[in-house]
């Protein structure tokens, strides 16, 4: 402690000064203050005096950790200070490294290797543990490789703290450098027998992490874990062992039989809730075939649920959710508590309860449950209310409305949900409304009623969350207008002044629906007056007339709407129609100057139609005979054509429909579309529930088409934008745009013009027949309306997971060590030379030394005992001597490990004789 350094540090701001000053800075000036402090630190950190440097680094680390400042520029200073002889400086340096170094990108980490090695082998316990905790934070492949020998030594350190820290660090090293497993694994396994709880807990924790990824490799260690399960009384250790067994038990049924009893015993006798919960979870997830154990676990869950502690309640509900996947009865038994939890003050608990309630939904109770839930939704806060609505929509919509039997009810219910004050699920409701419209023909009349209620209510237009629902309602009203009681009323609703509150895209749908309604009215009027020879019969294709008539007739019969339909026709007089046309003209006239393209286009369409039909209507009013000029005669015909194009039913379209489009003649597809993969590689497949508003004919035509070439499969995943991009680049391979544009002003279906003209009803029936066969049909008084669906499998590309690869490497090494295959040992020794070549300088020697050391142990133990190789040499000998007298084939009830050693030995020898390259792990005989 020299004078100058004392003076220096007197004037240097310490970390405490910095913190104090930071606390005193007025809010808002903090950034400026920090910037100033950083400048100061930049100056100080370059100092040659370690005290000044350390103080500067301390401040910087503090600012980095709690104020999010970048300190990557100071990485080298951390390295520099770490070699200081003072422990406090070392501590500062290592902490800054642990907090700020990025193992993947910080280059100077490599410079730490030497210092870490020195500290790992230091006699000072504090230095060693400091180095270990730093290593576990900043470990990368190079560090792991270079420091494995030191870690190997520490794994059998006589100091408990050091040893358990080394064990905890090993996990990171294994992850970064799987070859370390070959060196260290035996020592790790030896520690499973340690009597010290700290060490045992660390090892079990390590195995718990390792089994998470690749449990099968650790099956041979089951006897050791079993012993701990039975003997150990420490909660922490038991919890981890239970987690391990939860992974192992599903792999080996005999193991499950073995452990279920001790687990139940623990559950009955131990008081700690955490342990009991772990037992419950283990049984419910991995031992669910043991009925009595499950029963006991569920009873424990019930205890949890009746506790006052919200944590226990929450976890209890989560445990029930695990059971629900396998055995819904257990949930139903606890229905009372679950429903009670639905009105808990804790959102977490309510959500879990809600999830459970939705698990219980079936065809029989869906109406009742939904009614209860919606009343809950009405009185709860907005967030939970929307959760409830989301869950109802999800559950009811699942698998093409599997649980919904009465679609009239469900459609009404959707309307009710849309009107819940806090509802923000408009998009989903809208999707389902349209989807049901397309899929369930029988629900349409009720759907139109619901849509009418929604469209007609001016109050709803002000709520932006409702807009999606309203657009769906408008679409439904327009599309199924022939089922409506009063089209005029709908028209008024669609044109009401408050529609200006809607956003342009929704408004465009409103206008388009108005167009459809107008078409319908005009067409009905023309048909009514058809016999009055307003339209010369020569102009009407007789086929078309009969078609429409039949269609209307069908509709009336099937929906029992005869009176209303006729009332529509009663209203249709020339005057009323003209009034309607005028109404549309007045309301949409101003929109022809709209800035929004969609709105502009739709309204211009309607106005164009009006221009076409108005003279006709006026002409018939005036009853002028000379008006029947050629131009006017065209009007009814056009109306007919447009109406016909709209009267086709829309159906759902399979996501894979595009694949089934036949390739038109003369179109040459590029042989290899590999370059497409680059574009679509990261595209996700659209959800099955998505639909598109394409004429059903398209889907059907495509359905009946045969599969043509695999290359097309990629196309299905493309989004339209990508398609457009692709078209731009490879226009050669697409149909020329001229083919697609049709000249008439109606909306042609976007499909191949030479469609197969199959009657669509027939085809729909075919499709549903298919679904009828697969879907189960409950016997109920009223038949369930048919739901159109496709059963095409989703094609998903599974990307290989990088972590899995790594886990595979670890488990591969573990297998080698545990199974003691001679072949694998030799392969690992063959792999050694390149490893040591990678090392640098003197480290080279130590690595090869310890490695060959380890492999020597390997070989000596491998040859003698396969599974028992995991034990320490001395112990092994002792046991072997003890075993020699025993009969190896009997005494199966004795689960003592020594027996499994004997068997393992036996097995490995057997295997060595056969020279089988064992891939599957040995299943310990004690399990039999």
């Amino acid at each position: 402690m020299t004078g100058p350094s004392l003076m220096d540090s007197l004037f240097q701001r310490s970390i405490d000064d910095l913190i104090k000053a930071l606390r005193l800075t007025p809010p808002g000036t903090e950034t400026a203050f920090v910037a100033k402090a950083i400048d100061e630190i930049r100056r100080e950190i370059k100092s040659t005096d370690p005290h000044t440097k350390a103080a500067a680094l301390q401040k910087l680390t503090y600012l980095h950790s709690l104020h999010g400042l970048d300190m990557s520029w100071a990485a080298f200073h951390s390295v520099e200070l770490s070699s200081s002889s003072a422990h406090s400086h070392k501590r500062t340096a290592y902490l800054s490294a642990a907090l700020a170094f990025n193992p993947a990108t910080t280059d100077v980490i490599l410079l730490l290797t030497h210092q870490l090695r020195k500290d790992l082998s230091s006699p000072n316990v504090h230095d060693v543990s400091l180095a270990l905790s730093t290593l576990s934070s900043i470990c990368n492949t190079d560090l792991a490789r270079d420091l494995t020998p030191e870690l190997f030594t520490l794994l059998s350190s006589s100091k408990v703290t050091v040893r358990k820290k080394a064990i905890a660090t090993v996990l990171r090293v294994f992850e970064c450098y799987p070859d370390a497993v070959r060196v260290c694994f035996k020592r790790v396994v030896e520690n499973l027998e340690n009597s010290d709880l700290g060490i045992l807990s660390a090892v079990v924790g390590l195995f718990c992490e390792l089994t998470e990824n690749e449990p099968r490799s650790y099956l041979p260690l089951a006897p050791e874990f079993y012993k701990i399960l039975v003997d150990c009384k420490n909660n922490w250790v038991l919890i981890k062992v239970l987690k391990i067994f939860a992974k192992l038990a599903p792999l080996e049924p005999r193991l499950g039989k073995r452990v279920v009893e001790p687990i139940c015993e623990i559950m009955k006798t131990m008081g700690a809730k955490s342990l009991v919960f772990e037992c419950v979870r283990t049984i419910l997830t991995s031992l669910s075939e043991h009925d009595s154990a499950v029963k006991l676990a569920v009873s424990k869950v019930r205890e949890f649920l009746s506790e006052d502690d919200p944590n226990l309640k929450y976890l209890g509900l989560q445990a029930l959710a695990i059971v629900a996947q396998k055995d819904i009865l257990a949930v139903v038994e606890n229905k009372d508590l679950v429903v009670k939890a639905l009105s808990d003050s804790d959102l977490n608990i309510r959500l879990e309860a809600l999830r459970l309630v939705m698990c219980m939904v079936s065809e029989d109770n869906v109406m009742e449950i939904c009614r209860i839930l919606i009343s809950h939704a009405l009185k709860s806060d907005p967030e939970f209310c929307n959760e409830i609505l989301g869950f109802i929509l999800l559950t009811c919509g699942r698998n093409y409305y599997e649980v919904v039997f009465d679609f009239d009810w469900y459609v009404l219910f959707l309307g009710e949900m849309a009107r819940v004050p806090h509802c923000q699920k408009g998009d989903e409701i809208a999707t389902q409304l349209i989807d049901i419209g397309m899929r369930v023909k029988d629900a349409r009349s009720q759907l139109v009623n619901v849509a009418r209620e929604l469209v007609i209510d001016p109050a709803l237009l002000g709520n932006p969350f409702m807009h999606a629902v309203l657009s769906a309602a408008a679409w439904v009203s327009g599309e199924y207008i022939k089922l409506s009681r009063n089209p005029f009323e709908i028209m008024e609703a669609l044109l009401q002044p408050r529609t200006s509150l809607l956003n342009p895209s929704v408004r465009a749908i409103y206008i388009h629906s108005a167009f459809k309604v107008l078409m319908f009215c005009v067409h009905s009027y023309l048909k009514l007056n058809g016999e009055e020879s307003l339209i010369p019969s020569t102009l009407i294709d007789s086929e078309l007339v009969s078609d429409v008539e039949v269609d209307d007739h069908n509709m009336i019969v099937t929906n029992g709407q005869a009176p209303s339909a006729s009332s529509v026709t009663h209203h249709l007089t020339q005057e009323s129609l003209l009034a309607l046309v005028n109404l549309v003209e007045i309301n949409l006239g101003p929109l022809a100057g709209s800035n929004e393209v969609e709105v502009l286009e739709r309204s211009t369409n309607v106005l164009g139609l009006i221009k076409l039909i108005k003279p006709m209507l006026l002409g018939s009013l005036n009853d002028g005979e000379g008006d029947q000029t050629k131009g006017e005669l065209k009007a009814p015909e056009t109306v007919k054509l447009i109406f016909d194009s709209y009267s086709e039913d829309l159906g759902p379209v399979s996501v894979n429909a595009q694949e089934k489009v036949p390739i038109p003649n003369g179109l040459v597809l590029k042989e290899n579309l590999d370059d497409l993969e680059e574009i679509c590689g990261d595209m996700k497949l659209p959800l099955l529930t998505s639909f598109s508003l394409v004429r059903s004919q398209f889907a059907e035509a495509s359905n009946s088409a045969e599969w043509q070439g695999k290359e097309e499969s990629e196309l299905s995943t493309e989004s339209t934008s990508l398609l457009a991009e692709h078209r731009k680049r490879h226009g050669l391979y697409y149909l020329s745009p001229g083919n697609r544009v049709t000249t008439s002003n109606d909306y042609p279906p976007a499909h191949d013009p030479n469609d197969k003209a199959i009657d669509e009803d027939e085809d729909l029936a075919k499709l549903t027949e298919k679904s009828l066969v697969t879907g189960k049909k409950p016997s109920q008084s009223k038949p369930r309306p048919m739901v159109v669906k496709f059963d095409d499998g989703e094609v998903t590309t599974v990307a290989t997971n990088r972590t899995e690869v790594k886990a595979g490497l670890i488990s591969g090494a573990v297998n080698e060590v545990l199974l003691g295959d001679e072949a694998t040992t030799s392969s690992s020794s063959r792999r050694k030379p390149p490893k040591s070549r990678r090392g640098t300088g003197d480290s080279n020697v130590s690595i090869t030394e310890s490695k060959s050391d380890a492999s020597k142990i390997d070989q000596s133990e491998h040859s003698k005992a396969g599974l028992g190789g995991s034990k320490h040499n001395g112990h092994g000998k002792e046991r072997r001597r003890r075993n020699s007298g025993k009969d190896k084939e009997h005494d199966r009830k004795d689960e003592h490990k020594s027996e499994s050693v004997a068997h393992g030995k036996h097995r490995s020898r057997h295997r060595a004789d056969k020279a089988v390259e064992a891939q599957a792990p040995v299943i310990p005989d004690f399990l039999l």
């Binding site: 402690m1 004392l6 540090s9 007197l10 240097q12 970390i15 405490d16 000064d17 913190i19 005290h51 103080a55 980095h64 950790s65 104020h67 999010g68 400042l69 970048d70 003072a86 406090s88 501590r91 902490l95 907090l99 700020a100 170094f101 990025n102 193992p103 993947a104 504090h126 270990l132 905790s133 576990s136 934070s137 358990k164 905890a168 660090t169 996990l171 700290g198 807990s201 390590l206 718990c208 992490e209 998470e212 909660n235 922490w236 981890k240 987690k243 809730k273 955490s274 919960f277 772990e278 919200p310 944590n311 309640k313 929450y314 976890l315 003050s345 804790d346 959102l347 977490n348 608990i349």
Partner: protein
């Protein structure tokens, strides 16, 4: 595995951030802010678990607990037991209590390094090392005993003691006791300690 430990106060100011997998500093701040937003909206007497799927991905859980003005937050994955994590949090707080004698927020604010030392004795690389607060406290004690008093802190005490006015207003007895306590607790270097004693002596007489 434990993914991270955070201490923050009820204003959302972080007091300790430790992630066991590297997170860039901006990301850390962002995470703290998002976690705070969730925590401050939760009522009292509700469960201590929070869903953090959106922040950390599936299977990651978060448990928190309030102690006076501080939120203690543990983030962990499915290889840890939820209730055990609450116990571990209790161990952490107990240890802090032992090391700081009735810990308060200020202790944690001004002892950035010591809190990290304590945490490192409980958790290493995301693995639970020690679950007894006595053990942890004694380990931390052993570490701090091996550390000399930071120089700047010496300077403080010197300045404090040499302030005449303050000394005159003080009872001599209390002052000596104070210096003894300071010396014992902060492990003064002998040289400073004797120098201090000398100064007190000259000031008093």
């Amino acid at each position: 595995m434990i993914r991270g430990v955070i201490i923050m106060n009820d204003q959302g100011k972080p007091r300790l951030i430790k992630f066991y997998e590297f997170q860039p500093p901006e990301k850390q701040q962002e995470l703290v802010r998002s976690i705070y937003r969730v925590l401050c909206s939760r009522a009292e007497n509700v469960s201590n678990f929070v869903k953090v799927d959106s922040l950390f991905g599936p299977d990651v859980r978060l448990v928190y607990k309030t102690f006076a003005t501080l939120y203690f937050v543990f983030i962990f994955d499915k290889s840890e037991n939820e209730l055990a994590m609450i116990d571990l949090m209790q161990v952490f707080v107990e240890t802090l209590n032992k090391c700081f004698r009735e810990v308060c927020e200020l202790d944690i604010v001004f002892n950035f390094y010591k809190v990290h030392t304590i945490l490192d004795e409980i958790i290493l690389g995301g693995q639970v090392l020690e679950t007894s607060s006595e053990e942890v406290a004694s380990a931390v004690d052993a570490i701090s005993r091996s550390l000399p008093l930071p120089l700047s802190l010496c300077a403080y005490v010197c300045a404090l003691v040499s302030s005449c006015e303050w000394v005159l207003r003080c009872n001599r007895h209390i002052l000596v006791q104070l210096s003894l306590r300071v010396g014992k607790e902060w492990q003064f270097h002998d040289s400073i300690y004797s120098w201090l004693a000398e100064m007190i002596a000259t000031e008093l007489w």
